[in-house]
C-alpha cells in the first residue's frame, strides 16, 4: 500500500487535521460561498445588501436552489437509472404547497394566535416550517401516486407515463377552476413571506438560508447514495434482474428512490416559492424538467456534484445568454444539450473523472520534460 493511501485510511479514524486535509477542496468552496457577499462587496465597492452585490447574491440563491433540484434528479437518472419526465411536478408541487399555505392559511393563523418562545413570536417561523412540511407531504403523495401507476413499467415507457402525469399536473396548475386559489395562468404572486425572511429586504439572510439548505441537502443526498439503500439504487441501474435474484424487490427500491427525489425536489420548490414570493404554472412545466436534464447532462449524471455544477453553470450562462440572445435564450441551451448528449454524454465531471488519469499522466510527462537531466 502506498504512503498516500495509508494516510487516507488513517485519516478516516484520525485527527481533525487530516480530515481537513482530505476535504480541503469542499471546505474551500464552502468558505468561498460564505465569504462571497463580503468579498464581492469589497471588490465592487457596493454595500453588502445593495447594488451589484445584492444582485449576484440573488443569482447565487437561484443557483443553490436549482443545484438541489438538479441533484434530486440525478438521484433518479444518475444513480437509479430511472428516466422520469415529470420531475417538475414535484418542484412545482412543493412551490404551490408553500405558496398556497402561506397565502390562504398562514395569515389567518398568525393573525389570531401568537406563539411566544422567550419573548419572541415564532408563529411566522412555524408557518414557514409547516409550509416546508406540506411541501414534503405533497411531494411524497405525488411521488407515491406516480410510482403506483408506473411501478410495473420501466425505461422509456416509464418516462412516457411520468411525462403524461406531469403534464396533467401542469394542466391542473393552469386550470381556471381553481383561480381563486392558484391564480390559474397567472399563478400566485405576492405570497406573504414572513418579514424577517423577505428576500428583497433581507437578501443576505436569505442567501445564507439558501446556502445552508443546499449544503444540508447535499450532505443528506450523499449519505443516501452511500448508504446500503443507495447501493441498491446503483445496482438497479446496473442490472435489475440480478438485484431481483439477490432478493431485493426492484420495484420497491425504485419507488423509494422516486419518492426521495420527489421530496428533495419538493423542498427545493418550497424554497423557490419563498424566493420568488410566487408560484406559477411555469414551475410545473416540462421545460423545467428539461432544465434538470440539461443541468444533469452538462455536469455529468451519477456524480451528485456534477448536476450541481451544471445548475450553477446553466444559471450563470443563462444570465449572459439572456443579454446576448434575448428572450429565446433557452434555444441555445437546447442545441447545446443535444450536442452534449451526442458528444459529451458523461458531462463535465464525468468526463473529468474518466480522463483524470490520462491528464495527470500527461501533466507528469510534461513536468518530466522540464526536469534537469540526472547523471
Amino acid at each position: 500500500m502506498s504512503e498516500k493511501a495509508e494516510k487516507r485510511v488513517n485519516g478516516k479514524t484520525g485527527a481533525p487535521l487530516s480530515w481537513i486535509k482530505q476535504h480541503w477542496g469542499e471546505l474551500v468552496v464552502v468558505a468561498g460561498l460564505i465569504l462571497f457577499p463580503y468579498v464581492f462587496s469589497l471588490l465592487s465597492g457596493t454595500s453588502v445588501s445593495q447594488g451589484a452585490t445584492k444582485f449576484w447574491q440573488g443569482q447565487l440563491i437561484v443557483m443553490f436552489i436549482m443545484a438541489v433540484y438538479a441533484m434530486s434528479y440525478d438521484l433518479l437518472l444518475g444513480y437509479t437509472g430511472i428516466l422520469s419526465f415529470g420531475h417538475a411536478a414535484f418542484f412545482g408541487g412543493g412551490a404551490y404547497a408553500m405558496a398556497l399555505f402561506l397565502t390562504h392559511v398562514a395569515p389567518k393563523v398568525t393573525g389570531s394566535y401568537r406563539i411566544m418562545v422567550g419573548g419572541i413570536n415564532i408563529a411566522d417561523l412555524l408557518m414557514v416550517l409547516v409550509g416546508f412540511l406540506l411541501a414534503v407531504l405533497v411531494a411524497v403523495l405525488l411521488g407515491l401516486l406516480f410510482s403506483a401507476v408506473s411501478s410495473r413499467v420501466k425505461g422509456a415507457y416509464f418516462a412516457m407515463i411520468t411525462l403524461a402525469m406531469g403534464q396533467a399536473i401542469h394542466i391542473l396548475s393552469k386550470a381556471t377552476d381553481f383561480v381563486e386559489w392558484t391564480g390559474a395562468d397567472e399563478g400566485l404572486h405576492g405570497v406573504p413571506v414572513p418579514v424577517w425572511l423577505n428576500p428583497t429586504q433581507f437578501r443576505l439572510r436569505f442567501y445564507f438560508v439558501a446556502l445552508a439548505f443546499m449544503l444540508i441537502m447535499y450532505l443528506v443526498t450523499r449519505r443516501i447514495v452511500n448508504s446500503p439503500t443507495g447501493r441498491i439504487f446503483v445496482a438497479i441501474r446496473e442490472n435489475e434482474s440480478r438485484v431481483r435474484m439477490i432478493g431485493y424487490n426492484p420495484a420497491v427500491y425504485r419507488s423509494i428512490a422516486f419518492v426521495t427525489a420527489a421530496v428533495i425536489a419538493g423542498l427545493a420548490g418550497g424554497l423557490y416559492a419563498l424566493w420568488t414570493m410566487s408560484a406559477t404554472p411555469s414551475m410545473t412545466s416540462s421545460a423545467l424538467t428539461i432544465n434538470a436534464l440539461i443541468m444533469g447532462i452538462l455536469g455529468g449524471i451519477g456524480t451528485l456534484i456534477g448536476p450541481m455544477l451544471g445548475a450553477v453553470l446553466m444559471e450563470f450562462l443563462g444570465h449572459f445568454f439572456y443579454q446576448w440572445f434575448g428572450a429565446r435564450w433557452p434555444l441555445v441551451f437546447g442545441v447545446l444539450f443535444v450536442l452534449l448528449v451526442l458528444f459529451l454524454p458523461y458531462g463535465i465531471v464525468g468526463t473529468w473523472r474518466l480522463r483524470r488519469l490520462e491528464l495527470r499522466q500527461g501533466w507528469q510527462r510534461f513536468l518530466r520534460l522540464l526536469k534537469p537531466e540526472k547523471e
Partner: protein
C-alpha cells in the same frame, strides 16, 4: 370451437366494444340524442388526431424500441408548415433551396466514396482529417446562412394571418438572386464535406457497392435539379401558389406538411438517433431535447402566439347543408347529421384518420415493407440476419411515423389554434393513447385513440355541465391511462412480455 377461438383472440376488443355499446345506450338515453351525437362526433374527430400522433409512436417503438418524444413536435411542425404553405409560402420557398442544397451535399457519400477510399493517408491522420473536415463544413454551413433574414421570411404568413384580405399584397421581396446564389452553393459544399468525412477518406475497409453509387448519383442529380428550380422560383413560387385554387392549395399544403415532417424525421433518425442505439436511455433524452429545441425555435420564428388558419373553400361556404350529398355540392361550413349541426371540416378529419388507419393496415399487411416491419416487431435480429438492410428500414419507418404526425398536424390546423404548446399537448395525448392501446400495435393505437377521443369529448361535455373548465377533463384522461396500466400493463392489445 370456432366461436371459442374467435373469442380468445379478440376478447379485449369485444369487451371494449360491449362497454362502448352499453355506455352509448346509457348516454343517449340520459343526455338526449342531439347532444349525444354531437359529442360522439367531436370525440371521433379527436380520436382521428390522436391516432395520427400515436400511429407513428407505436410503429417506431414496436420496430426499433425508440420512444420518440418529439412526435408531438412533429405534429406541430406539420401544422406550422401547412399553415405557412396555405397562408403565405414565402418562408418555405425561401428556405427550400438551402434545404435541398444541404440534402444534395449530404447524399454524396456513396458518390465520393470510390474516389476517396483509395487516397493514401496514414492511419493516425485519418480521424483527425475527418474531424477537420467536419469543422470546416460546419463553419461553411454557418457562413452560408449568416445574414439571412429568417424572422423576416417567417413573419410573412404571420402578417397574412392577422391582416385579413389579399395575401398577395403581403408577399415581401426577397434577397436578390445576385447575392442569394452563394448560399445554396456554400450549403452544398458544406453538405458535401460532411459526406466526404462520412466516406472515410483513406479507409478502404468501408465497402460501397457500385449500384449504390449509381443510385446515389441519381439522387444527387435530382436534388441538384431541385436546388436550381427552387432557387429560380423563390419569388414567383409563392405568388403562383397563392393565386391557385384554394382547395388545390390545401391539398398541396397537406402533402407539403407531411413531406416536411417525413424529411425531418429521416434527418433526425440518421443524425441523432442512429448513433445512440448503444445507449437507449440517451435516445429518449435526445428526442426530449429535440422537442424542446423545436418548440423554442418555433417561438423564435413565429412568436409564442396562437394563429388561426382559415379553412379551405370546400368547407367554408356559409350555411348548413341538409345532408352529406348537399355538402358535396355546396361545400358548406356545417352539415346536418341525424339532426345535429356539425362542422363539415371535422368530418373531413374523421375521414382522414380512418383513411390513414386503413392505409397503414393495408401497407402493413400486404406490402413488402409491411412484411419487414411486422417481422421486425417480432424479431429484429432475425430480420437482420436474413439480409435486410434494417438501418434503412428504420429510417423509413421513423420518417413514416413523423410524416403521419405532421399530416395530422396540418389536418388539425384549420380547427385548432396553431401554437407552440401544440407539441406538448398532443405528445401527452399520444402517449396516453399508446399506453391504452398497447405498444407496437396499430390496431391498439386505433382503439386507444377511439377510447381517449370519446373520453375527452364526453369529459368536456360533463365539465361544461358541471361548469368546470376543459382543462379538468384534459388532465383526467390520465386516470384512464392509470386504470389500464394497473389492469394490463402492456395495454389493451400490446404484446405481453
Amino acid at each position: 370451437m370456432k366461436i371459442k377461438a374467435f373469442w380468445r383472440e379478440n376478447n379485449t376488443l369485444l369487451v371494449v366494444a360491449l362497454i362502448l355499446l352499453v355506455l352509448s345506450v346509457f348516454g343517449s338515453s340520459s343526455m338526449g340524442l342531439e347532444p349525444f351525437v354531437r359529442t360522439t362526433l367531436s370525440g371521433f374527430t379527436l380520436s382521428a388526431l390522436y391516432f395520427m400522433v400515436a400511429a407513428g409512436l407505436t410503429l417506431v417503438f414496436g420496430l426499433m424500441d425508440v420512444l420518440n418524444f418529439s412526435q408531438g413536435s412533429m405534429l406541430m411542425i406539420g401544422a406550422y408548415a401547412g399553415w405557412q404553405f396555405y397562408t403565405n409560402p414565402t418562408f418555405l420557398f425561401g428556405l427550400a433551396p438551402l434545404a435541398f442544397a444541404l440534402m444534395a451535399g449530404l447524399a454524396m457519400m456513396a458518390v465520393l466514396h470510390p474516389v476517396v477510399s483509395n487516397w493514401r493517408i496514414p492511419e493516425q491522420w485519418q480521424s483527425r482529417l475527418r474531424a477537420l473536415i467536419i469543422v470546416i463544413a460546419v463553419v461553411i454551413g454557418v457562413l452560408a446562412v449568416v445574414g439571412l433574414d429568417f424572422r423576416g421570411l417567417a413573419s410573412t404568413a404571420m402578417v397574412a394571418t392577422m391582416v385579413a384580405g389579399n395575401p398577395l399584397a403581403e408577399a415581401t421581396p426577397q434577397e436578390p438572386l445576385a447575392s442569394f446564389w452563394i448560399r445554396p452553393v456554400l450549403l452544398l459544399l458544406s453538405g458535401a464535406l460532411i459526406a466526404l468525412a462520412q466516406a472515410r477518406p483513406g479507409d478502404p475497409t468501408v465497402v460501397v457497392h457500385k449500384d449504390q453509387t449509381r443510385r446515389s448519383g441519381m439522387v444527387v442529380a435530382g436534388l441538384l435539379l431541385l436546388v436550381v428550380v427552387a432557387t429560380l422560383v423563390r419569388e414567383s413560387g409563392p405568388l403562383a401558389v397563392l393565386t391557385m385554387n384554394g382547395n388545390l392549395r390545401f391539398v398541396l399544403a397537406l402533402i407539403v406538411g407531411a413531406l416536411v415532417g417525413a424529411g425531418l424525421g429521416a434527418v433526425i433518425e440518421t443524425t441523432l438517433i442512429s448513433p445512440l442505439y448503444v445507449r437507449p436511455l440517451y435516445q429518449v433524452i435526445i428526442t426530449m431535447g429535440l422537442a424542446f429545441v423545436i418548440s423554442e425555435l418555433i417561438q423564435l420564428l413565429w412568436d409564442p402566439l396562437p394563429y388561426a388558419m382559415s379553412r379551405p373553400p370546400a368547407f367554408s361556404q356559409p350555411g348548413k347543408a341538409e345532408n352529406i350529398w348537399a355538402f358535396f355540392r355546396g361545400g358548406n361550413t356545417t352539415v346536418d347529421i341525424l339532426g345535429v349541426t356539425f362542422p363539415s371540416y371535422r368530418l373531413f378529419i374523421i375521414v382522414l384518420g380512418v383513411l390513414m388507419f386503413l392505409g397503414l393496415t393495408l401497407v402493413l399487411k400486404y406490402t413488402r415493407l409491411g412484411m419487414i416491419i411486422r417481422a421486425g416487431v417480432q424479431d429484429r435480429e432475425m430480420v437482420e440476419a436474413l439480409g435486410i438492410n434494417v438501418k434503412r428500414v428504420f429510417t423509413l419507418v421513423f420518417a413514416l411515423g413523423t410524416g403521419l404526425a405532421a399530416l395530422g398536424g396540418i389536418g388539425a390546423a384549420p380547427f385548432v389554434p396553431v401554437e407552440p404548446v401544440m407539441g406538448d399537448r398532443y405528445l401527452m395525448q399520444g402517449f396516453i393513447t399508446v399506453v391504452i392501446g398497447g405498444m407496437g400495435s396499430t390496431t391498439g393505437a386505433a382503439v386507444g385513440a377511439l377510447l381517449l377521443g370519446l373520453a375527452r369529448a364526453f369529459g368536456d361535455y360533463l365539465a361544461l355541465k358541471f361548469s368546470l373548465s376543459p382543462a379538468i377533463s384534459e388532465a383526467s384522461t390520465v386516470i384512464i391511462m392509470a386504470i389500464v396500466l394497473l389492469a394490463r400493463p402492456a395495454g389493451l392489445l400490446g404484446r405481453r412480455e
